[in-house]
């Protein structure tokens, strides 16, 4: 059923543009408002959450709103910087990348939980590693998987904490093997199956997947909780006011912050959205520069 929604969403998007092609000439003022999100976890959950957001925003903004699914984090950033989408649900780092490449873009809202987000280090139970408050230096020499390369909680921050714990060493030098699973749900599966011994995962995806019964506590467990850092946010392009009318950015922010429906918030694992500014992500930018992921 969920994949139907995905197919439906994609085709509705493609279809609506076939229709709006000729019609677009007459009604030039309001091209469809398109958004995307980084594919950080199970696609079915992404389709569920963004489908609901599209319906909600269409109602609040009075313009046709379309969600376009992408297959990778950089594809989401590219779609944003070349203007294919006007709004995106980015992670901390992808948001910094996108705003740097697209001057004028603004972070407008984050989840209440995103101000102090966390990474979990998880380990297969066969490793014998157990939960501790201090960074588990015993993970050195194990096999290790990050999430996507451009993930904040699955790559950037864990890499930063690893470099802090093992000064002068890169993750490649600390671990026997380093992988990039692609997304957080996949990281959990890979560590659970034993394909990798240790992994870094977004705590909210861990919680969602645990609730969905996809995590077997006999096979995989949390061994460390990171200090807090800012993460996901909605970022909008700088040119939307010019396209959709003055005050559109404010209207959009108000619409996102005004989401109270638990049915929309639950698949995000967020209690609500709160206003935010670019400045909140300065720490992420600093960390990205210090790990060499950003110039």
């Amino acid at each position: 059923m969920l994949r139907r929604t995905l197919n439906g969403a994609l085709l509705a998007g493609l279809g609506s543009l076939v229709v709006s092609g000729p019609a677009g000439a007459q009604e030039r003022a309001k091209p469809a408002f398109v958004f995307t999100g980084i594919p950080d976890q199970d696609e079915s959950r992404l389709v569920e959450r963004f489908g609901k957001v599209a319906t909600y925003l269409e109602d609040k903004l009075g313009v046709p709103v379309t969600y376009i699914p992408v297959k990778s984090y950089p594809a989401a950033v590219t779609a944003f910087t070349n203007g294919q989408v006007q709004l995106a649900w980015f992670g901390g780092f992808t948001g910094v990348q996108a705003r740097k490449a697209s001057p004028g873009a603004q972070a407008i809202a984050q989840g209440a939980e995103d101000a102090a987000f966390k990474t979990y280090l998880i380990a297969n139970t066969k490793t014998g590693l157990t939960k501790a408050a201090d960074f588990p230096k015993a993970i050195a020499g194990r096999t290790f998987t990050f999430g996507s390369r451009a993930s904040t909680s699955g790559r950037l921050m864990p890499e930063y904490f690893i470099r802090e714990a093992f000064p002068g060493k890169t993750p490649d030098e600390v671990f026997a093997r380093v992988g990039f699973s692609g997304d957080h749900s996949r990281t959990i599966q890979l560590v659970q199956s034993g394909a990798f011994e240790v992994g870094a995962v977004d705590y909210s995806v861990w919680d969602l997947d645990s609730k969905a019964g996809k995590v077997d506590p006999k096979e995989v467990g949390i061994i460390w909780e990171s200090p807090p850092f800012p993460d996901y946010q909605w970022t909008v392009r700088g040119d939307v006011d010019a396209i959709y009318g003055a005050g559109f950015t404010d209207k959009l922010r108000a619409a996102l912050v005004g989401i109270t429906d638990p049915a929309i918030l639950a698949p995000f694992a967020r209690s609500k959205f709160i206003p935010v500014t670019n400045a909140a992500y300065a720490p992420i930018e600093r960390v990205a520069k210090s790990t060499g992921l950003l110039d």
């Binding site: 992408v70 070349n82 203007g83 034993g194 394909a195 110039d295």
Partner: protein
């Protein structure tokens, strides 16, 4: 390369020994760990999906887009290739451009084009058209060179160039052109399928989702539909149906979701994104800028290009020799002489199915099953290419004239068939070498540390200047291997032997020219 016209003293045996030794050495350097604990459980579920396909789950439009992108991509590519083929033999610059176009893999083209045209039909079509233009130009030019010039010589003096071409040359090469071009559609459908893995709305988009989420019944259905499309190509993809298919493809194209300011994006891409970052800010006349460029380039060379190139060569070498062994094992299945009149059709279907499976997808699936190491990549390349070479060898084996009292079974295989076909076998393998290398580089995107691995990293970090440099290095490596392969083929006197599969079969000619496969 003129120095390398011939490598003296190299025979079939020496080349075989060197390649086998290279593969053994590469095997020592290769990472072959199986890290997944449940490969068989997953494989069983995948096979179960193929046996119980969920056809209603197949997104019909994704099938339409797969075909439409392929048709428009090949048409554009072959059209441009035809125009480029005319000056190809004379103009070195044209040959260089074509070599550059075809040495960059479709997926790399798509990753670059996405920066400008977004997730759109334009990206999908151009990603096929650009490399195919380079390939078609080369092949068309070869076909024209091989053509009989007798008709041209009897034309009256004063015949115009166009008339001479249309009446004197075209009739002779038209059949070969047609067969080759129609064959490219099969390759293009494999390519468009794979483009879905990075987000274009073709069947690969849904296959990737289905594999990733373990919905194997849907994956099985998609795969079976794809095999049916490839298997039935000769029925619906003909010269007569082409105009209809072209128009239908244009009409069926997905409109771009959202608008990309492609002209502005193209400007930024060319003048900013791909310019090495030290050159963007610094003055070009300032020597400090150039020393910064050196500092920028050095770590990319030592930490990315060189290790990536070594891993790419290691993977390609192991896969090439494994392909050779696989093909030697498999070809009797597709030969009537060995498999018998009942076994042979089954063997052929098996090898055609294996050949129709895009190696990128195969590697993706095997990586999910076996975990991240070089092993899944080696297996994927070997299965796909051994299928192709085995199929062709099987056909050659049946075309050999045998004595009435020829031995049978293993004796025939080892003392007659294999020795007689060995030159042809080497010709195919040397030709596949470059293609295997191109594919090896791409597998980096899936996590094997070949050049594509670093390209993927550079794109994730939005360092398009680094990505373009790495893609350029990959192209250079591909061209080097291509040149070496051609030198070896010349040196072994194999250049006259067929290597592509699209040529029409002339009835019962003793050694029908076969042309092989996508490249």
């Amino acid at each position: 390369m003129s120095v390398l016209r011939r490598i003296p003293g190299w025979g079939y045996a020496a080349v075989t020994r060197w390649f086998a030794a290279g593969a053994l050495a590469a095997l020592l350097a290769a990472d072959l760990a199986v890290t997944s604990l449940h490969p068989w459980a997953d494989l069983r579920r995948l096979l179960g999906g193929l046996l119980h396909p969920d056809f209603p789950a197949v997104e019909v439009w994704s099938v339409v887009y797969t075909i439409a992108f392929a048709i428009l991509g090949v048409t554009l590519g072959a059209g441009a290739g035809f125009v480029l083929a005319i000056p190809f033999a004379r103009a070195r610059s044209v040959r260089l451009v074509c070599a550059g176009l075809r040495s960059v893999h479709e997926l790399f083209w798509a990753l670059l084009l996405m920066q400008v045209f977004g997730l759109s039909a334009t990206t999908g079509i151009l990603a096929i058209a650009l490399p195919y233009a380079g390939i078609c130009a080369k092949v068309y030019s070869e076909i024209m060179e091989e053509a009989d010039l007798a008709a041209l010589r009897v034309l009256p003096a004063g015949t115009g160039a166009v008339s001479a071409f249309v009446y004197g040359r075209l009739p002779d090469v038209a059949a070969a052109f047609r067969h080759y071009t129609l064959y490219r559609f099969e390759c293009a459908m494999r390519s468009t399928l794979v483009l879905g893995f990075i987000g274009l709305p073709t069947m690969g988009f849904y296959l990737e989702s289905a594999f990733r989420q373990g919905r194997y019944t849907e994956a099985g259905a998609l795969l079976l539909v794809f095999y049916a499309l490839i298997g039935s190509r000769r029925l619906w993809m003909r010269l007569a149906t082409l105009p209809v298919l072209l128009v239908a493809s244009v009409l069926a194209l997905p409109r771009t979701v959202g608008t990309t300011h492609w002209l502005a994006s193209l400007g930024r891409f060319v003048t900013h994104d791909i310019v090495p970052s030290p050159l963007r800010s610094g003055a070009l006349l300032d020597p400090a800028t150039w020393s910064r460029l050196g500092l920028w380039f050095q770590p990319i060379l030592t930490q990315q290009i060189l290790p990536g190139a070594v891993q790419t060569l290691v993977l390609a070498q192991v896969a090439l020799v494994a392909t050779a062994l696989g093909a030697l094992l498999l070809f009797p299945l597709a030969s009537r002489r060995f498999a018998g009149p009942i076994g042979q059709p089954f063997g052929r279907v098996l090898l055609v199915v294996v050949r129709s499976t895009p190696e990128y997808m195969l590697a993706y699936v095997l990586l999910q099953l076996l975990g991240p190491s070089m092993l899944p990549a080696i297996l994927a390349l070997t299965i796909h290419n051994a299928g192709i070479v085995g199929y062709l060898m099987g056909r050659h084996a049946d075309d050999l004239p045998y004595r009435a009292d020829a031995p049978t079974g293993l004796n025939l295989y080892s003392y007659e068939t294999v020795p007689r076909l060995y030159g042809q076998f080497l010709a195919y393998l040397l030709y596949r070498w470059e293609l295997i290398l191109r594919e090896s580089a791409i597998f980096g995107i899936l996590g094997v540390a070949t050049l594509g691995f670093y390209v993927d990293a550079a794109i994730s970090e939005l360092r398009l200047d680094v990505a373009v440099l790495l893609i350029g290095a990959t192209a250079l490596l591909t061209m080097l291997v291509d040149a070496l392969s051609r030198t070896l083929r010349r040196s072994l006197r194999l250049t006259e032997l067929p290597i592509r599969l699209s040529e029409p079969r002339h009835g019962s000619a003793p050694n029908p020219p076969l042309r092989t496969a996508c490249s």
